[in-house]
Symmetry: C2
Subunit: 431 residues, 2 copies
């Protein structure tokens, strides 16, 4: 089935900014609360949020086999569980409805009033109920930086790193959409030189610039996904801030990996941009430096050229962009990650989320965490208001943005923006 | 609300074996498929499975505020999400219905035909849809054995071990109920002396004798669960076989922890035994060897005296019991695990699962894995059929059992039994 929604010549009758992340060629999917307190699945064109539940009730999807309530859901899970064949039909149809050549909805003011919302009228929700969340560690620059700082600059990469897309399981319950603030976590840390740990607020709260993909269908227990079929299992991508508490992490992570240092919050952008929309921005991954085992050998352009930026906004101040990176730097691509994840028979379900790992580029201004940007705090990062940051301070907002830019279009992700609140104080008085 | 279901004097009018794991004082909860292909929530007394959906339709729970379909569910999640107050009422009521002094159901043959099943008429399902699964590493004997084998006998425990209940996130999607077979996983391993990894079947497939608890209610993002309230968040416990591929684990696990070595399968017993039923078997945990930070200081009897056994049954042969351990050996208890897990604000949801970690006892015949029982393969374990095992062979079935035994009752978990099948072969021919 052709992806007609991607037609670069297509224009919309909606009035949208020329540089929007969400032209009619994007058509991402998300879930929002409307002004009438109804939760619905929707899409976004320019600065309009579009209620797909209402569009469906008005008959605009009648030619597509969909259940009546497919869009009247708290999450995208049921909608995407059918796989590409269904959501591609819907995406193509949305492009038709909003095409400047199509006056059906354009000329029906009642219908327009029902389905179109401005962004300040809605509240974005978590787009999927994530069943399992896995985080990879697939940026060679990031793994090298961390290995250089904490182990040995001459042997920064561990022996397995060039052979397997190293990954680990994360916590689904603390995945939150952009806009939900996060409390500075408390926990155990071992102060420098001490022999006994102390309890208190993390002093080294950090972001990690990542992207994540959401799966659309699953494999049965015991049956691996071959690498050449892996993209059929992927629905789309989001921006992902993998909040991290470096001091908690350092004390807890041996031998089983990071735990409380990560699971206090993981923030994602609320609009899932489909792999279909990203199609024009395919690119190759870096050449493997080691011969890969056959199940990980990836053919063709399986990565994407996605510009990424991180900004810090202190409370009531302007923001400062502190890093510019790109998804294409990833050494391991999503197909390799999925093939590896399932090669032992591990089942994936629709609505799982897999993070890329911190996406650091080759230069110091493209690193994807404060740990690297400030080099463990040795080189504080200057902000426009004159202040400096080694790590994230209370009431700072961390904003990540991402977009693809080509000759004939820009396809963006919007942003994931999260404010770090001070430590949580229980309402009841302590005894 | 008193736990009247626990009354030791209570007898049932059902004909049940005297040494059953499931006397009328147990009343666990599970989900099964009936002979009419209906999925229902049920309980078990002796060798009878009891259809709670049917009992409810017949009016036996009319005095308890329950929705009509609360038991006609694929999982226990909705039923337990209310917390202790609801499932305790139901459990007490079930005890009344089957009490020998109550003839209401006993004397109604039609009703009995509708609600009672023999075990061969039903098929047990996964009892909960696990949102997030966490595995701890809370047996000091196990951590010491592993540290002795792989690191340094004189410093077997890592510095953090006596200060925090070390844990990590596992994979929910591969949690399966007893009876579902598992294929031997394939993956990357680094052969001894080699510099490049190879791909193939794991040669070191192992079990891990664990127990797991299931949560009944959750905490909001950002708000820790105080240790003294932790048990209010726990529904009950199951036996848990945390399948492990030791050779895959060894190559992959640095620096982010075990991944494919664990997530090919995790088997649990299908009946969840409530904390209420385990109440008479409370015991203290081992005395902490280090002063604990206040949030981990646990008062009173927060562990349970649960006898555990592991048997291996080669295909078409009799089984051999190869280990006898006890849950009470756990250094860290469930309240400490939950308090630690949430101290950073990580949210727990109803239906999460938390594994204890391998439960090894102090003596070599009480170790909880083949890795320890055969001491890395140096001391093969003899089976009754004359064969030996260093690790698990194809077509072996691993069976774990657990029960509490006191003066006036036995409360058991039944078993988790899982057959290891050979490597999965795709049905389609390879090109």
């Amino acid at each position: 089935m052709p992806i007609t929604a991607n037609d670069p010549k297509r224009k919309t009758w909606l009035d949208i900014p020329s540089n929007t992340d969400f032209p009619i060629q994007n058509i991402p999917f998300g879930v929002f609360l409307t002004r009438d307190d109804i939760v619905t699945i929707g899409t976004r064109i320019g600065d309009y949020a579009i209620d797909l539940g209402a569009l469906h009730q008005l008959g605009y999807f009648d030619e597509i086999p969909l259940t009546d309530d497919i869009f009247l859901q708290d999450t995208l899970n049921d909608f995407i569980a059918d796989g590409k064949k269904t959501w591609r039909l819907v995406r193509n149809r949305i492009a038709d409805i909003f095409d400047e050549k199509n006056s059906q909805l354009k000329d029906n003011q009642d219908h327009r009033n029902t389905v179109l919302f401005t962004l300040d009228e809605i509240e974005m929700q978590l787009p999927v109920q994530v069943g399992d969340y896995t985080d990879f560690y697939s940026s060679k620059e990031h793994a090298t930086n961390v290995g250089t700082m904490f182990r040995d600059p001459d042997n920064a990469l561990l022996p397995n790193w060039l052979h397997i897309p190293v990954g680990y399981h994360g916590r689904s319950s603390s995945i939150i959409p952009s806009g939900i603030p996060v409390h500075r976590p408390q926990g155990q840390t071992l102060p420098a030189g001490a022999s006994e740990p102390v309890f208190g607020p993390s002093k080294l709260v950090d972001f990690e610039l990542e992207m994540a993909f959401i799966t659309t269908v699953g494999n049965p227990l015991g049956e691996p996904i071959p690498i050449e079929e892996a993209e059929d299992y992927i629905f789309g991508m989001v921006l992902f801030n993998d909040w991290s508490a470096r001091d908690i992490q350092k004390w807890e992570y041996v031998p089983l990996g990071p735990f409380l240092a990560k699971n206090f919050a993981s923030s994602i952008s609320p609009w899932i941009v489909t792999l279909d929309a990203l199609e024009p921005f395919r690119t190759t991954s870096p050449e493997p430096e080691k011969e890969l085992l056959p199940y990980l050998q990836s053919q063709g352009k399986k990565s994407f050229n996605i510009n990424l930026e991180v900004a810090i906004q202190p409370e009531n101040k302007e923001e400062t962009t502190i890093s510019k990176s790109n998804f294409k730097y990833m050494y391991w691509n999503m197909s390799q990650q999925l093939a590896h994840h399932t090669v032992n028979g591990c089942p994936i379900n629709s609505g799982d989320m897999m993070g890329s790992g911190t996406i650091s580029g080759p230069t110091p201004d493209s690193y994807g965490s404060m740990l690297e940007l400030s080099w463990r705090g040795e080189k504080p990062v200057k902000l426009n208001d004159g202040s400096e940051r080694k790590f994230i301070q209370d009431n700072d907002t961390v904003i990540m943005r991402g977009y693809c830019e080509g000759k004939d279009r820009r396809i963006g992700f919007g942003e994931v923006s999260t404010k770090l609140l001070p430590v949580y104080e229980p309402q009841t008085k302590k005894k």
